[in-house]
């Protein structure tokens, strides 16, 4: 068990492509940290740098107290779960799990004990004699996890391990990964582009964009106080509405704007924070035409276009809404729920 310490890591590919631009992060022992961001944000590159599959152009990487910049993946005491599982197709499940241990010259009885223990834990014990091709996607995923587990490493690295599973299985495996990590208490670094996966799994999130950390924090911190316009738009679904302060000023929101920090010219409102009946206390009201109504069972999504502007706005209401498409409606949001941003820098103003 060990923490992982990233100190100003950079990755520059040939041709001066900068994939990671100065990431510093301290992952505590036993912590579950999720790297999240859109494709091409450098999250996988960063994970592979920690794994040792990509060289580190600049900066220091420590696992525990050791600087591991120039160590082979096998010597870093980490285990990795790959997106496509990367199981050895010609080996049985048992051999897949045992391969890494055999390479480390772990005694046979010890290998057998660890493999069977991991197989039991992951409920793949009945398949130990099968080849990967005879397993379903979910079972292969478990074998890939098992291969990481038997190593008893200082840290687990997950590279979008659930992206090849169907939606239902993904939720189930997500829960299992979380429970497993809690039980074992192994430091974990997890890469995903799925913000829901990130929110539910991580003790802390690292939101990456263009090779730079946009924000680091617990899922609820990131959700409640997104540090930038990018984070605000990326975390939460449907995405946060961004409305120019200029529009609000001219449409009855001048009073609301006065209460926001200086420099604010963009106001974010989460779809969840919008209601149809005006809340008590100071609030902001927006009127527009209801263009589309999406009943999603427990909740309803309203897509409106603000009056006097082309700006689309999404609101999410609990339960059902007795509305018809094409109707003019007004939605309200309490001032305390607004997220103030400055558009030039993209940062939060307060």
């Amino acid at each position: 068990m060990a923490g992982i310490h990233l100190d100003d890591l950079h990755k520059t590919y040939a041709g001066d492509v900068r994939a990671v631009k100065g990431v510093s992060l301290d992952i505590a022992d036993g912590e579950f940290v999720v790297l999240v961001g859109p494709s091409g944000c450098g999250k996988s590159t960063l994970l592979r740098m920690v794994a040792g599959l990509e060289t580190i152009t600049e900066g220091t990487l420590k696992i525990g107290d050791r600087v591991v910049n120039n160590l082979e993946p096998a010597d870093r005491d980490i285990a990795m779960v790959f997106q496509n599982y990367a199981l050895y197709p010609h080996m049985t499940v048992y051999d897949n799990l045992a391969y890494g241990l055999r390479n480390r010259r772990v005694p046979k009885e010890e290998i057998d004990r660890r493999v069977r223990e991991a197989a039991t834990m992951l409920e793949i014990a009945p398949f130990l004699d099968r080849k990967p091709r005879a397993l379903s996607g979910g079972q292969r995923q478990r074998v890939a996890m098992g291969r990481a587990l038997v190593r008893e490493p200082a840290a687990f690295l997950f590279d979008e391990p659930l992206s090849n599973l169907d939606a239902k299985l993904r939720v189930q495996m997500r829960v299992e990964i979380k429970q497993l990590q809690r039980r074992l208490g192994t430091t974990s670094l997890y890469v995903t582009h799925d913000q829901l996966e990130a929110m539910t799994l991580g003790d802390r999130l690292v939101v990456l964009n263009g090779g730079v950390m946009e924000q680091v924090g617990t899922p609820m911190e990131v959700y409640d106080r997104p540090a930038s316009v990018f984070v605000a738009g990326f975390i939460g679904s449907p995405a946060m509405n961004m409305i120019a302060a200029g529009y609000l000023g001219g449409n009855g929101g001048a009073g609301a704007l006065a209460g926001l920090p200086a420099g604010t010219d963009l106001v974010g409102i989460r779809p969840d924070d919008m209601v149809l009946t005006p809340p008590e206390g100071p609030h902001l009201s927006l009127s527009g035409r209801l263009e589309l109504l999406e009943p999603a069972g427990a909740e309803t999504h309203l897509y409106l276009r603000l009056a006097g502007s082309d700006q689309p706005v999404v609101a999410r209401l609990a339960g059902r809404a007795e509305l018809t498409e094409g109707q003019e409606i007004t939605v309200h949001a309490a001032l305390s729920t607004l997220h103030p941003f400055e558009s030039a820098s993209g940062r939060r103003t307060g």
Binding site: P73, A74, A79, M80, N84, P89, G100, N103
Partner: protein, 282 residues
């Protein structure tokens, strides 16, 4: 066929049967001829029914040879051919697997250049480079040796190219998983890449074994010692060797024996081949 046309089916079968007949007939004639006594052929008509001398003819070619014409028993020649074909096939596999491994998995200067260099040698079959190759082999003192028979034929651009194409379809994550699992390059090669290539290896082994077995010009050129004659050369020497009329019954027995090992290799490998085809999955 999509349509179930009765006459079409019959026609197709007639064509196929004729085709099979065309291929089978010479083999049949050879087998039949090898069972007749020497006198049969003097009439100039090939018999189409088996004769009484099968055992005697085969015993003669395998153990005695044609002492009068200076042809040794073909037992030794079969053995020479086998050694030569095996060395060439295994050597080609070993070298091309390793060079494809190097080209696909390692970054070294002029990698692409070396790949194309290997590729270009595809255009230079043995016959084209036979004189300089002979010169080199002679200077190295490898005339009349197994090494001389096999080594110059071992380098193979075809096999290297084939393995390269296959390796490039193996997902990179497998290599990365092996690295995380503590397997060095050679261990990855041995434990993962080679077992995954087993289908290709089997297919190539068959092709290269037959290639080696059927070599004619090269052994003819570099062997003068009958101890190193190969079977394919042996057939030729039997036909033209003596002063008398060729002893067709013995020639045919030799031909049948010479054709047998490649057939056996194909039959033996076909199982592995098919098994590999149905079981390999990336």
């Amino acid at each position: 066929m999509v349509e179930n046309n009765r006459w079409g089916t019959i026609l197709a079968h007639i064509v196929l049967i004729l085709g099979v007949g065309l291929v089978i007939f010479p083999v049949y004639v050879a087998v039949i001829a090898s069972t007749h006594p020497p006198g049969t052929f003097l009439r100039g008509v090939m018999p189409l029914l088996p004769g009484p001398n099968a055992l005697e003819n085969y015993r003669t070619v395998i153990f005695e040879g044609r002492s009068r014409a200076g042809t040794p028993p073909i037992g030794g020649m079969l053995w020479n051919s086998f050694i030569m074909a095996m060395t060439i096939a295994l050597g080609k596999l070993a070298i091309s697997l390793l060079s494809a491994f190097a080209i696909v998995y390692f970054r070294f200067p002029f990698r692409v250049f070396f790949f194309w260099l290997i590729f270009v040698t595809l255009m230079l079959p043995v016959e084209v480079r036979i004189v300089p190759t002979f010169e080199v082999v002679a200077n190295l003192g490898m005339l009349n040796s197994y090494a001389g028979l096999s080594v110059p034929l071992i380098a193979s651009a075809t096999a290297t190219f084939l393995f390269r194409q296959f390796f490039m379809t193996v997902p990179e994550e497998l290599m990365e998983a092996a690295r995380v699992d503590g397997a060095g390059p050679m261990k990855f090669f041995r434990d993962i890449l080679v077992p995954l290539s087993i289908t290709n290896i089997a297919a190539l082994f068959v092709i290269q074994f037959i290639y080696g077995w059927n070599q004619y010009l090269w052994p003819l050129l570099i062997t003068t010692d009958p101890d190193y004659y190969t079977i394919v050369m042996g057939i030729q020497r039997m036909v033209t060797g003596g002063d008398s009329e060729p002893l067709w019954h013995l020639v045919m027995a030799t031909v049948v024996l010479a054709a047998l090992p490649p057939v056996l290799v194909i039959l033996a490998m076909q199982r592995l081949f098919v098994k590999g085809l149905t079981e390999t999955e990336k």
